[in-house]
């Protein structure tokens, strides 16, 4: 027994060493997800694509976090109920689990808490939690999925958001060329891409864009070295804390799949990766990259595109007479 224990400890210690050897790079490979409760994930997928969670019956989570396009809508700011112009750029749902917080201003601690937000936001899905529960609870075809996920068919907001978060946790994108390189395949990226990565590190980008998500682990001021100019009125963390010094402080966005998640920044004002790199260099680091340097960093960033989640499009159970009716054009309630 003692020998076995010692061997186990030794093997852990070697594993630890190997992990810290890898930690020599500020970016870690992203791990495929382990699913504990597949029934909960399946239900969460259905709810993620469920337009009846919106006032209109038209907008789902996937409308703005589209899994066909990097988990975003590729718009500066999102389209909401009655074509409302959203205040901020839609962050990707891919690899979003495990960040320091959710939303640009970090106002939700978890994916579960985040998922509840847009449903009741008048500029997004514009429903209410009460109505969401009433709608889903009225649909007999959901009962078996709630039973399989939770043991009984009760529908409440906690269960709805727990299921969504469980699905979202599965939305990881492993196996990017950069991760292959991190894991030892030195041919997985080109010489130019490697130059870009070295420049990315040397410039200080990895001070904030680090870890498995290449971001998402801290809040930073947008405009650290030089003020960032925008017409977007989002105040960042100040909206949560009320403190003036938190104005323009945002959660550092994830750079995984950044090739797919254009346009960039909280205001969506950088249309291309080249623009984003130049502006970041300028306002965060006080650097003016040459065209060649920018191209190298962009080349590196494109190696962060991983295998996109394989999602079988769900089939949603039909509404019945008891399901509240949807009228997208009814006048807004006061």
């Amino acid at each position: 027994m003692k020998k076995t224990l010692f061997a186990a400890l030794l093997s852990m210690s070697i594993a630890g060493l190997s992990a810290s050897a890898m930690a020599a790079e500020p970016i870690d490979p992203i791990q495929p997800v382990k699913v504990d409760n597949p029934a909960l994930v399946e239900l969460g997928k259905m709810l993620f694509f469920e337009p009846r969670l919106s006032r209109s019956g038209f907008i789902s989570c996937n409308s703005c976090h589209n899994l066909a396009t990097g988990g975003v809508d590729n718009l500066k700011t999102s389209i909401g109920d009655r074509w409302a112009q959203g205040p901020i750029n839609s962050p990707t749902v891919l690899n979003s689990y495990g960040q320091i917080a959710q939303f640009w201003d970090g106002r939700a601690k978890t994916l579960e808490e985040q998922a509840a937000g847009p449903i009741a936001n008048p500029l997004e899905m514009a429903s209410t939690h009460e109505m969401a529960v009433k709608v889903i609870g009225s649909i007999p075809g959901y009962a078996k999925y709630f039973k399989a996920a939770f043991g009984d068919a009760k529908v409440d907001m906690t269960r709805i958001t727990d299921a969504m978060a469980a699905f979202e946790k599965t939305l990881v994108t492993p196996n990017s060329r950069f991760d292959q390189w991190l894991k030892g395949d030195k041919n997985a990226i080109t010489a130019d891409e490697l130059k870009g990565y070295n420049l990315f590190k040397a410039s200080g980008c990895t001070m904030c864009h680090n870890g498995a998500q290449v971001g998402g682990s801290s809040f930073q001021k947008m405009g650290m070295v030089r003020p960032y100019k925008t017409t977007n009125t989002a105040e960042g963390v100040k909206a949560v804390t009320g403190r003036d010094q938190d104005r323009m402080t945002f959660k550092v966005p994830i750079l995984r799949n950044v090739e797919l998640t254009y346009p960039y920044f909280h205001d969506g004002e950088a249309a291309t990766l080249e623009q984003a790199v130049e502006i970041m260099g300028d306002v965060q680091l006080g650097k003016r990259y040459t065209k060649e340097e920018t191209a190298q960093i962009v080349a590196f960033l494109k190696t962060l595109t991983g295998d996109q989640p394989k999602v079988e499009y769900p089939v949603l159970p039909p509404s019945v007479a008891a399901t509240p009716a949807f009228n997208p054009w009814e006048p807004a309630k006061k």
Copy 2:
């Protein structure tokens, strides 16, 4: 050789007999689709889910013909560009191939012709064919899919709609309980459902709702026996022919998966199957069904729900700097 030929002819003749024995029922089982060009279907699937075919970059074919919900949006009339209120109820894309024509008023002969319509309709996707070709043609990631489908990477409107139609042809829903019954499994439907089917036939419903699609094979006046009252201003076939006598004549809708494709009629004014059956009996057949009869017909109609298509949600290639920008809120062009 002669013997073999004779045997073949005999076997064809027996097959023919068996087919006509089945044809004793006015409804035929729907057949699973045979795919000739899987690369064309794959491209078509991508384009079906492609929001960049719309002016806003937000609306795809799937927005109103949602494969999660019976190939429709379950709204009275559809939401289009800038939250436009569409003029008519979105017909299902499921089993839509092979109808006498497409659209409620039959203004497109084929799925290919149909697919071109909404892209350029200002109340729907509100783009133009020129812009659609420009956008898709600008996206380098599409080249390999066009090559695989067509032999080279050229993008034009014919190819776009050919691909969409090829995908749509695969969207059949075989194996409904009613089809199992048609094929000889007498336990596949209940006694009440069978009563409903017999009443459906005896009342004359199958005069129009017949064939594999249970509809879609003729145009009929809405309000044959008694005028149908609606505030919807759609004129039906008159809009195509200009002839007064074609006012309120519409293509007979498909009843496959009718449980999923609520609300009903061209104006979406019947919220439930019960209402739809009662109104049809009244204005088309001059019949007042008892509550029990209506329930039986509805029970039969629900046996028409088939296996929904299994669709792996596509991953779309990213836009590049050359791709025209999307601004959902820019003022409408005159």
